[in-house]
Amino acid sequence: MATTTERTPDDAKFAQEIARLAEAIRDLAHRPDRDEDPEQRRRIQRVDFGYRALGALMGRAGRGFNVPVFGASWHPRYRVIVLLGLPGEVEFVQLQNGAKDETLKVRRGRDGDDSPFKKDATESRGGELPPWIAPETFTPDDAISSVLGLRHRPGPVIALGPRIAPVPSYA
């Protein structure tokens, strides 16, 4: 018995539709995850970091809970905040309290005219001078409730600093 392989116009249209559908499915599979708002991604990163920092302070280990922490305090003589144990990849530090917010580039060693170490080489601990920041908005009279280490100015947050109490007797 003979069979015909000749396509009808309907078959061709159907095949065309199938091809178009397959193309659409492929596009869907290969498109970026979501059209995501960068601000939303930044917020989620901060919430996630905050959660991991909380876990680290609660003594948890593993699964991302090894959050770097660093010390921060006003220099006893110069109007800069010295950052002890700051991870090398932290390029900016964000200071916050309920009323103010300031993000500052981290200065390392004697790289500025206002460096606290320029004239005072004895600040060195073990030969390595600690990084520092020179706040403009915050003064030693202010309580600083949050000190965060950022990789870039907008984020991500990668290290956690302490509260800094006001120093009323600052010279």
């Binding site: 919430v47 922490v69 921060a72 309920g98 600093g161």
Partner: protein, 449 residues
């Protein structure tokens, strides 16, 4: 808090085995360290990160840590208030591997080792979940047998130190004026006191009864408590269910997606307000500190084959197995689902603490709970799996065989006050006052075999 100290020791030395040095430190130092750890909590920066305006005060009050901590001390401190002497900043200069053992340094507190940031203790749920395994009753019997007779055999010097510290820190009156001193003539039984806190905060009882040896006056922990969070479990389960929906549909790019970040945030706020209602003015902060401290000691004891575990021939591969072996030595058996409870305790504690301080108050922040790229989402999967297995509550599943679509949310929005209940003031409340959703996490644990 002893998990924190163990982590500090591990971080300072880079050696995981250093965690066990906690058991070799003299109990007087450990007791003093607890007060320093409490004091250090005042320096914890506000979390959630970047959202200080809407964050809730830690522990229900910004002033509770200062209200109960030690007086300000001059430097060096006077002899009356000697520091714990546990100091880890200079460990690299020490030749000894045992950095904190038989050593005392005139420096204050745990802050020195954490860049000036204080440490935080676990949420009360940590104590509740771990105590549900029957762990305290088993250890109480182990310690009792060890100090009254020779039925458990001979101990190594390291285990003798553990035994001494355990009895002195947790099975006798705490030192005068210690922050962990939550026992007095007015609330003389630690067992009852802990149950009282669990009842108030979660509206739930431990799944095992107080052992007959220590049983006092019925369910005394339910007397005169005022409001309790009866509705905790229903809201908690609903939160897990909603987060699971989010995780399930996180990568959906077509079709229906029942995930609702706003509703998850609403649930988180309801739980937050529920907890903070019980914490007003710093209520339960000190009790929480004391109770999670006790549980963290025993948890740490079971995390590895510590000397006491080895001496009692309870070596095994997991805390639950070690607890079962120890129980066997004294004729007791832990909860059937101990393994899940051990795995659940820390993640659930972290999550509830984060909820309590307002980390997920807004929809875009709550989205982090089911965003697959975060550590938080991994944690949520773990919590959902362990909770489902420990309680038998099918968080992930929807009723099978239904033709009509199953609603993804209940009709009414959650409110923190709607489920709160007032416990009766009588010393022996009627059985009907126990919430219908009393936990089924572990039946028969802590009972004699």
């Amino acid at each position: 808090m002893f998990l924190n100290l163990a982590k500090l020791l591990e971080d300072a030395t880079g050696v995981p085995a250093a965690r066990e040095q906690v058991f070799l430190i003299h109990p007087v130092q450990l007791s003093r360290w607890l007060d320093e750890a409490w004091q250090g909590a005042a320096t914890i920066p506000p979390l959630p990160i970047g959202n200080p305006v809407s964050s809730q005060p830690l522990l229900g009050s910004d002033d509770i840590v200062d209200a109960l901590d030690l007086p300000r001390q001059p430097d060096p401190p006077p002899p009356l208030l000697l520091p714990s002497g546990i100091f880890l900043d200079d460990v690299n200069s020490l030749a000894s591997a045992q950095v904190a053992v038989d050593r005392w340094v005139e420096e204050l507190g745990p802050r020195a080792a954490t860049g000036g940031i204080g440490l935080l203790w676990q949420h009360l749920s940590y104590a509740f979940i771990l105590e549900s395994t029957g762990l305290i009753e088993i250890f109480a019997e182990v310690v009792r047998r060890l100090v009254v007779g020779e039925t458990l055999g001979r101990l190594s010097p390291a285990s003798v130190k553990w035994l001494r510290a355990t009895e002195e820190l947790f099975f006798r009156d705490p030192p005068l004026f210690s922050i962990a001193g939550t026992i007095s003539e007015l609330r003389p039984q630690a067992r009852v006191n802990r149950r009282n806190a669990y009842w108030r905060m979660f509206g739930m009882d431990l799944p095992h009864a107080v052992p007959a040896r220590w049983d006092g006056a019925g369910q005394a922990w339910k007397a005169n408590v005022g409001e309790i969070n009866v509705d905790f479990r229903a809201k908690w389960s609903e939160l897990l269910r909603q987060v699971w929906l989010g995780l399930e549909n996180n990568r959906n790019s077509s079709g229906a997606n029942p995930t609702d970040g706003n509703y998850v945030a609403l649930l988180a706020r309801a739980l937050r307000d529920m907890f903070n209602d019980r914490r007003r003015g710093g209520l339960l902060a000190r009790e929480e500190f004391a109770y999670v401290t006790v549980l963290s000691w025993f948890h740490l004891t079971l995390q590895t084959n510590t000397p006491i575990v080895a001496d009692l021939k309870a070596d095994s591969t997991s805390p639950a197995e070690r607890l079962a072996q120890l129980g066997q030595r004294v004729g007791m058996h832990p909860a059937l689902r101990s393994r899940e409870l051990f795995d659940l305790a820390e993640p659930m504690s972290s999550l509830l603490r984060a909820i309590e301080i307002g980390s997920f108050d807004e929809a875009d922040a709550a989205a982090a709970l089911f965003d697959d790229g975060t550590a938080l989402a991994l944690e949520m999967r773990e919590i959902i799996n362990q909770w489902q297995s420990a309680t038998g509550e099918r968080v992930k599943e929807r009723p099978p065989g239904t033709v009509a679509p199953v609603p993804s949310q209940p009709l009414r929005a959650p409110t923190p006050g709607s489920g709160n209940g007032v416990a009766p003031s009588g010393a022996r409340p009627a059985a009907a006052t126990v919430p219908a959703s009393a936990p089924t996490v572990a039946a028969g644990n802590g009972q004699r075999a």
